[in-house]
């Protein structure tokens, strides 16, 4: 099951001399989105396997005839004993006890997982592959596995299981809480503040006319404060996302993708 191992801990290994960009699908530093946060996750195992495995013909496994074969092997994917060297401890522990639970729903299996496998093949691109791809973009794996028209209607029960587990995990709940705890109040504040501004302009023309410095009146002050508050909320949101969500979300992303293999 080569692709299983390939996709094990998708591209988390900094190659020698390369700084890894943790935030970019396309992987290595030098991608346009690199920034100060490109430090690693502590304690992640390093997989030298990947460099060799990336050259395995991953896409062979995506062809129709192979699907059934892979489909049957899905339970094995989730059996921890089978992938000791590749899985991280974290994802293994999260996965414990889920392997048997996918029999309940009757849907077609496989496709979604394969879509993800193929996507991660993209995310696995190593620097040399990346360079090649940017020179001849048409030749990269174009990220349209299986059905080019989009995700299938039926959900893979194994994937459903994984997503539900992740959704209920404390790590995810924390991310969601951090997102909503900022977005909901911030939206309420800026909408109310904007409505207050529009209303008070019409409702209190006398107050608005009050001059503060020369021709600069209260109305102009409030208008400029709208600009300032927009910039301020943007900055606060960016900081909130950077400090409270990004790192956890990325870790959870790879863990989830691990489990989907």
């Amino acid at each position: 099951l080569a692709q299983h191992e390939v996709t094990g801990s998708a591209g988390r290994t900094p190659r020698q001399g390369q700084e890894y960009d943790w935030w970019s699908v396309s992987g290595m530093a030098g991608s346009p989105d690199t920034d100060q946060q490109s430090s690693g996750f502590p304690g992640e195992p390093v997989h030298e396997l990947m460099h060799d495995l990336i050259h395995e013909p991953i896409h062979e496994f995506m062809h129709e005839p192979d699907r059934e074969f892979l489909q049957e092997s899905v339970p094995e994917f989730l059996d921890e004993s089978d992938h000791g060297p590749v899985h991280t401890a974290r994802s293994d522990s999260q996965l414990a006890g889920q392997a048997g639970g996918h029999g309940g729903r009757s849907q077609r299996t496989g496709s979604t997982a394969f879509a993800d496998a193929d996507r991660s093949a993209r995310s696995l691109r190593l620097p040399e592959d990346d360079d090649a791809a940017s020179v001849i973009p048409g030749q990269r794996p174009s990220g349209t596995p299986g059905s080019p028209a989009g995700p299938l209607e039926e959900q893979d029960p194994v994937a459903a299981e994984v997503y539900r587990e992740v959704q209920q995990s404390p790590a995810f709940q924390e991310i969601r809480r951090n997102h909503r705890r900022f977005v909901f109040p911030a939206t309420a504040v800026f909408v109310c503040w904007y409505l207050f501004y529009v209303t008070v302009l019409a409702a209190a023309p006398g107050l608005m006319r009050t001059q503060l410095a020369g021709p600069f009146s209260v109305a102009w002050l409030l208008g400029l404060l709208q600009f300032a508050s927009t910039f301020l909320i943007t900055w606060l949101y960016a900081r909130n996302a950077r400090t409270k969500r990004d790192r956890a979300a990325l870790g959870l992303r790879w863990d989830t993708q691990d489990q989907l293999r």
Binding site: S31, G150, T187, F190, V198, W220, L252, Q257
Partner: protein, 560 residues
């Protein structure tokens, strides 16, 4: 913003921002028009060169739809601001500030505040869950065909309305800037702009469109910054002096610096402004050509950073429009601005002419032509972005999924991209034809309608889908159609179609809806129908699919 803001509640002086072309008087005449023609040609050559240069790189769907997803967040941020800031922002909003002072600034503020919704509610989540279009985000947890049919239709309607508005506006504007009169010039402008946008999109796809946006946004920002600094230098960086001079240059005197000059005369006109404001603030987050920009970057984090860049650029730009508008009134005078164009669209070129040394001088000629060329580049870039978004929605959602017979084999990626190119030609052609017939129409209502439809049909569906566990396919269709149809119907029975002097059919009167913008009613209706459709249906939402959507949207697991 890609839009021609307009507010004409009953009794307000501003009929349209881009009114029917004033046949009697070209604003200014002389050699600067010849120079402008040369610069326009340069802009065309440059954009075509970009298209041919980058368009050859990659022919996969990923390349055509998203430019390969390898743009940086700064590049995409600049392109986002380029998509958003149209000639109407550069010329229209500045003209409004020049003519109506403080109330013109309300547009600037509304357009900027809208981005907070894009930033916090849309950008990252859409990037994580979708692939090419808005309907992809819905299809993650809904039944494909109905939601793609609904959302694809709404997207095509929004972009088509917007496209027609931009092209009709372009016809008037280019004629205005080139100083030509007569219907033939406008007609040929529309055909030429339409032809160019079809070439950009079919040949270059998203990659060329993005680069055109980037180049255009840089030209626009540079031009606006240069003029702003120049105005400030003329007033020795004394803002109070600038404001006083502007009030002096306006017939309204001190009232120019106070709110209430443009709206606030009657309850209806205030309500109309609130309605327009709602559509603008909520509609931005549902515009297909803005949403499709988030797919050109590799990760959700890059999408967020590009929005942050865009907010910075858009915010700075709108602050500069305030200075430019005040400067135009202070230096050129509101009367001259209004004589040149009743809606004030030539305020910036006239300001440039004045700063450069005035009518007849070399500097004035040069700067008038440069400003006009920037406005022209802006028009071209914006229509290209719109055509692309429209053709992607058509090919990816409607052709490949919603309208595809179940008996036929699924559309291959290659067929889909071919169809996207074909549909760019078809939609572009349709937009040209409709724009030719729409030349007499009030342009601004088309744009505010496009925003209202985006806010009523796309945003409720998107927000429910991402945040409401029990939302169903039926609810998604109801909220899309339940926002789309009322928006269109209410406009049909509003004063912009009949019953007013500036209406589409001035001779008849069948209007009963008092407001010009339907947003105040149709946006709540979109939310309401989404709720009713969900709770009244038999179907239960699939908790597993919502789990998948939630996890994917917030972590990026499985994102393309």
């Amino acid at each position: 913003m890609n839009q021609l803001p307009q507010f004409s509640g009953s009794g307000t002086p501003l009929a349209t921002v881009l009114p029917p072309f004033p046949h009697t008087q070209p604003p200014v005449d002389g050699p600067h028009h010849n120079l402008a023609v040369v610069l326009f040609a340069l802009v065309v050559v440059m954009t075509l060169a970009i298209t041919l240069w980058v368009g050859r790189r990659g022919q996969a769907a990923e390349d055509f739809y998203t430019g390969g997803r390898d743009f940086g967040s700064l590049q995409n941020g600049v392109a986002l601001s380029g998509d958003y800031l149209s000639a109407a922002s550069f010329l229209g909003v500045t003209g409004l500030i020049a003519l109506y002072g403080y109330d013109g600034m309300l547009y600037s503020i509304g357009f900027l505040v809208a981005w907070l919704i894009v930033l916090m509610w849309v950008a990252e989540l859409v990037r994580n869950t979708g692939r090419y279009t808005l309907a992809d985000v819905l299809a993650t947890r809904m039944r494909q065909r109905p939601v793609r049919a609904a959302s694809g239709t709404a997207s095509v309607v929004v972009t088509l309305l917007y496209l027609i508005a931009q092209m009709v506006g372009a016809g008037s504007l280019v004629a205005l800037l080139l100083g030509t009169t007569g219907a033939a010039a406008k007609t040929w402008t529309i055909v030429a702009v339409g032809g160019l946008m079809i070439i950009y999109v079919t040949v270059g796809g998203m990659r060329a469109t993005t680069w055109i946006q980037i180049v255009k946004a840089m030209m626009l920002m540079t031009g606006a910054l240069a003029l702003t600094v120049w105005v400030l230098v003329r007033f020795h960086f004394d803002l109070a002096d600038l404001m006083r001079s502007a009030a002096h240059g306006s017939p309204a005197g001190d009232r120019y610096l106070e709110p209430g000059l443009l709206y606030g005369e009657s309850t209806t006109s205030r309500l109309d402004f609130v309605s327009l404001g709602m559509a603008l603030v909520l509609g931005t987050a549902g515009l297909p050509h803005i949403l499709s920009r988030f797919y050109t970057v590799p990760t959700a984090r890059a999408a967020r950073r590009s929005v942050i860049w865009a907010i910075g650029l858009v915010g700075c730009f709108y602050l500069m429009t305030v200075v430019l508008g005040l400067g135009a009134t202070a230096l050129v005078g509101a009367k001259a601005v209004k004589t040149a164009n009743p809606a004030g669209n030539t305020a910036v070129p006239l300001l440039a002419l004045n700063l450069g040394g005035g009518e007849g001088s070399t500097g004035g000629t040069l700067f008038f032509a440069l400003t006009s060329a920037i406005a022209f580049a802006t028009i071209l870039a914006v229509v290209a972005g719109l055509t692309l978004a429209s053709s992607v929605s058509f090919a990816h959602d409607l052709y490949a999924q919603a309208f595809r017979s179940r008996n036929k084999p699924p559309v291959t990626e290659r067929q889909e991209v071919v169809m996207a190119r074909v549909s760019a030609v078809l939609i572009g052609g349709l937009a040209i034809v409709l724009s030719l017939y729409a030349q007499r129409l009030n342009v601004a209502f088309l744009v505010s309608l496009a925003f209202a439809v985006a806010a009523s049909a796309n945003l409720p569906t998107l927000v429910y889908n991402l945040f409401w566990r029990r939302f169903t396919t039926r609810g998604a269709c109801w909220s899309t159609y339940g926002g789309l149809v009322p928006a269109l119907v209410l406009v049909f029975f509003s004063p912009v179609v009949s019953g007013a002097r500036t209406a589409m059919f001035p001779g008849v009167d069948f209007h009963w809806f008092p407001l010009e913008n339907p947003g105040l009613v149709s946006i709540p209706l979109g939310f309401l129908f989404g709720w009713i459709g969900t709770v009244s249906g038999e179907e239960k939402a699939d908790p597993d699919k919502f789990a998948e959507l939630e996890v994917r949207s917030l972590t990026g697991a499985g994102a393309v």
